[in-house]
């Protein structure tokens, strides 16, 4: 039984190991890693929003803290995760519905380049604040 569980876990975690894999597996792994990160962030974010219930002073103190360079750098990392997951997710939706199936690799590369450009522009905007 333990052997079965181990092999299932190992099989399930196969997507995480991208060594010697093609671009498709990198795209798949990136989508899942960023997805897990974004789920964790979602619940942290919802937790932080509880400060709105505690009132003006609690929220405004948090806002002052969140404007520090450390938090702004975290925002850039968050945005990178959103862009990778969102743009790669759009590719998955297109190809899963039967569009551009033959051009998946090119689509992935193009979307990641677009994402990198958006991230650069947004990072400059974030640190201008």
């Amino acid at each position: 039984m333990s052997t079965l569980n181990y092999s299932k876990t190992k099989q399930a975690a196969r997507w995480f190991d991208v060594r010697r894999r093609k671009a498709g597996m990198w795209a798949y792994a990136l989508n899942r890693i960023t997805g897990i990160g974004l789920v964790v962030y979602l619940y942290l974010h919802l937790g932080v929003l509880s400060m709105l219930i505690r009132g003006q002073s609690a929220w405004d103190s948090f806002v002052a803290l969140a404007r520090s360079p450390f938090y702004l750098a975290l925002d850039v990392i968050l945005l990178a995760g959103i862009l990778i997951h969102g743009l790669n997710g759009l590719r998955l939706a297109f190809t899963g519905l039967g569009f551009s199936v033959g051009a998946q690799k090119a689509l992935f590369i193009i979307l990641m380049v677009i994402g990198a450009i958006i991230l650069l522009v947004a990072a400059l905007k974030i640190f201008q604040v």
Binding site: G24, A27, G96
Partner: protein, 120 residues
């Protein structure tokens, strides 16, 4: 021999289609949320008074509730997909789906309570 994941992804199921629908919705709603709350807002974040004024706009409130529902559904469907890779039995899959549905209901409920406290 390497596996070509481009050939393996996205077998259309009802859950997958919901993930696509909520994902496409999120592209629009998340853009609005980020731009409105972090790029348009003075200083990159709204202070308490600005959050209250923002959420008291009925159109914004509806959009933020839609955003909350879409992001929660999309996130939990994604978590379910990762767990399903473990090759769960039908019974465990049913328990997982039910548990995630309740987590989703509680998450949306919590978000609505926060919004209610802000706009009341």
């Amino acid at each position: 021999m390497s596996v070509n994941a481009f050939d393996q992804e996205s077998k259309p199921t009802v859950a997958w289609l919901w993930q696509v629908v909520t994902g496409v919705g999120l592209v629009v709603l998340l853009c609005l949320h980020i731009v409105a709350n972090h790029f348009v807002a003075k200083g990159g974040l709204r202070d308490y008074a600005a959050v209250v004024a923002y959420l008291r706009n009925p159109i914004i409130l509806v959009l933020e509730i839609l955003f909350l529902v879409c992001v929660t559904a999309h996130a939990l469907l994604g978590v379910r997909a990762i767990f399903l890779d473990l090759g769960l039995s039908d019974r465990v899959e049913q328990i997982l789906t039910r548990t995630l549905k309740w987590i989703g209901v509680l998450t949306v409920g919590y978000g609505l309570v926060v919004m209610w406290f802000v706009i009341r």
